[in-house]
Symmetry: C2
Subunit: 210 residues, 2 copies
């Protein structure tokens, strides 16, 4: 390919359908790779090593933290979850655009270490749609609704730290929208320095009559 991949961070409102969109995007275009997280939680039936997760013991995971082998990590309840650096960087150097589906704390870590990463925030098309998803099908307990609400309010606070707002209304359109954004990002001057240097060198040589 000759081009460097782009690191893409995807966050967004719970219930905006991030997972479905990313799955459709990677199914449709070979140029994308979904990052595979490392975790200390036990594999569920049918989960294979290196597919949904890299499964680690607590000791292994803590060694990865200590050795800088994770770009970012977080602890939920009693388990660690994190993004292995090696997998991401291998995919990027092979020209794949790597997608990380993480929350804002992780997104910030990425931005610090990879300033050229592209951060996408996925939302429903309007508040009414989002509300429907927060409330659910009328089957959710008050506690669950309250939890979702507080999470959405929190998620909304950090939107300005992202680069693009992506509206997931019609799945297919949303997938194409993200693909166009990443395609456009590849056209950024800063991502085409090699091409520019070459055409400039050839132009100068030509001007000197070489």
């Amino acid at each position: 390919m000759g081009r460097q991949g782009i690191l893409i961070v995807v966050s967004g409102f719970s219930g905006a359908g991030k997972g479905t969109v990313m799955k459709a995007l990677t199914d449709r275009y070979d140029s994308y790779a979904l990052s595979v997280s490392a975790t200390t939680r036990d594999p569920r039936p049918g989960e294979k090593e290196g597919e949904a997760y890299f499964f680690k013991t607590r000791e292994e995971f803590e060694q990865m933290i200590a050795g800088g082998a994770l770009i970012e990590y977080a602890r939920y309840v009693d388990n660690y979850y994190g993004t292995p650096r090696a997998y991401v960087e291998k995919q990027l150097s092979e020209g794949h655009d790597v997608i990380l589906e993480i929350e804002i704390q992780g997104a910030r870590k990425i931005r610090e270490q990879y300033p050229e990463a592209v951060l996408l925030f996925v939302t429903a098309k309007d508040f009414a749609t989002l509300k429907e998803r927060l409330i659910g099908r009328g089957t959710e307990s008050e506690e669950v609704i309250d939890q979702r609400l507080r999470r959405a309010v929190q998620e909304a606070e950090g939107i300005e730290e992202y680069d693009y707002l992506v509206v997931n209304d019609v799945l297919d359109d949303c997938v194409e929208e993200i693909h166009r954004i990443i395609d456009s990002e590849h056209r950024k001057i800063s991502r085409n320095t090699e091409f520019i240097e070459q055409i400039r060198a050839e132009l100068n040589a030509f001007a000197k009559g070489e």
Copy 2:
């Protein structure tokens, strides 16, 4: 539309086909408007006021300069050429993406006054193609070739001041590429503050049980 237009600056190598691309883009999509320059040069047969140019006397033009009515202007040989601010801002406020085809000095003026403008640099796909165009069909004088060369070398120096590199190889692809870039630019977080503020306000109100 409810959305603010984007000011698009297009520069690039002479012979990269900028004019053709912009014409095709504005023909294909209603959302774009080509900026109309003001000039003191005489109308050529068939040129209508307000189409290719707004025709001005030297006195009128110098009054526009003095009154800040031009975003940028330049003098070539004995004539002035410039971009009237009123036309551009009217189009932007009506939601049109306004295209200015100007050189780097003008592009810099735009960036100073409209930091959110998008600057595109158009090139041929490689040096060999560019060279062919610089040399022409073997009918050009050495002087003309030399002039084109020096201009291309100069144009190449400022590329890093632009945002995107657009390769004009197949016209149709190039038009779509630019359209995708502008479409993606409309998805930038900074261009969607109204949407974000609204969904955030509704979310907060909902969380408070209002």
